[in-house]
Amino acid sequence: MSYVSPPRMLELDMDLEELAYRLNAFQGEEGTTFDALVTEENILEVSCSNNDEFPIHITTTETQILSVSPLFTTAELEPGNSHELNEIFLRLSPAVPLSSIGLQGSTYILFGSMALDTRFENIAHELEIQAENTVDVLEAVEHLLA
């Protein structure tokens, strides 16, 4: 084909493997470090030192990096609390910096998205914040869990 195709959407400057490598080597200002690995399903799994109990799952689309922190499933709620939980989450979500709260299937998640060409330092920073947010959000609704 000799024609010039319309401008393609950006490709990830570094792929998930490279992102994992850089995260593993990273040290934040407050001493934050990461443990990162790419799973067989090609999902980047990251544990942040400020919260290593709730890892972040990272994937990409043609335009974005998506970072998902699974929180808990609807089955882990004390029966009868889902309405209250949903309302708390709705009210809470806008106040959480950089992350949003959502429901995927029956799993509540915290998630963030960044442009594919985000600088690495900003990616690391967002992940740090997301891990921190996870603790805060869970503490806020802990009392509603079974």
Binding site: P6, E45, S47, T61, E62, L66, S113
Partner: protein, 231 residues
């Protein structure tokens, strides 16, 4: 096709699992195919456009040449009339009429061509819009799919995906105690470096003989004794 509309409909219908049911492989295949089709159509349109443009240029040149011819012959016809060469003038006039007719034909052809070219430009633009729109739809579809994948991926950290009792509470406890340890170590580190700094300071003062209780104490005592002795 509106991905979000479909999603909303599914949620409204009480679907707990918004996954393969909504974003089926077909949706992605259809979008990708539409994008490919549009790109191919644009490609062949651009090739036609190139051919049309060169015809357009040729026609414009020919029309211009014909106009020049008419002007030329008109001058000659006038000259013939002035030279009272009536029959010649008539011949020239006939010739002019022929050229003008050809000129009109070609002008009409060129005008039609120009309108075709314009139509194709508009169509290419419309197709490009379609491509961009489909790409955005596709990205939405992919985002939904990737979010689902990322959520359901089984963590290598079992604490995160087990379903034991009070899983979250226990995990939070562990996180907080780790943070506390870290903080304690930080504070201990601060205290240590503070203690170091204090002993540094004392050493400095001592070196200058300031507030040195030993020598100060003895000489004070001597002074007192002398004073006693004196008085």
């Amino acid at each position: 096709m509106g991905v979000l509309k479909d999603l909303f409909a599914a949620v409204k219908g009480g679907a707990n699992e918004v996954g393969e049911a909504i974003i089926d492989a077909n949706a992605i295949r259809i979008l990708e195919q539409e994008i490919r089709d549009a790109e191919n159509a644009i490609n062949s349109s651009k090739q036609s456009l190139t051919r049309m443009k060169s015809t357009d240029i040729r026609l414009k040149r020919e029309i211009h040449a014909l106009s020049e011819d008419v002007k030329d012959y008109e001058e000659k016809a006038i000259a013939a009339l002035e030279a009272e060469e009536e029959s010649l003038a008539v011949e020239v006039a006939e010739r002019i009429a022929e050229i003008e007719s050809e000129h009109n034909e070609k002008s009409a052809e060129q005008a039609a061509l120009e309108s075709e070219i314009d139509k194709i430009h508009k169509m290419i633009k419309a197709r490009e819009h379609t491509i961009q729109k489909n790409k955005r739809e596709l990205d939405k579809v992919r985002t939904v799919k990737e979010l689902q994948r990322a959520t359901e991926s089984v963590s290598s950290n079992f604490a995160a995906t087990g379903t034991s009792q009070h899983r979250v509470a226990k995990a939070l406890e562990r996180v907080k105690s780790k943070q506390q340890n870290w903080q304690d170590r930080m504070e201990a580190g601060d205290w240590m470096s503070e203690a170091d700094a204090n002993s540094d300071l004392d050493a400095k003062l001592k070196a200058k003989g300031i507030g040195n209780s030993e020598t100060g104490g003895a000489s004070d005592v001597l002074a007192r004794l002398k004073a006693k002795k004196g008085g």
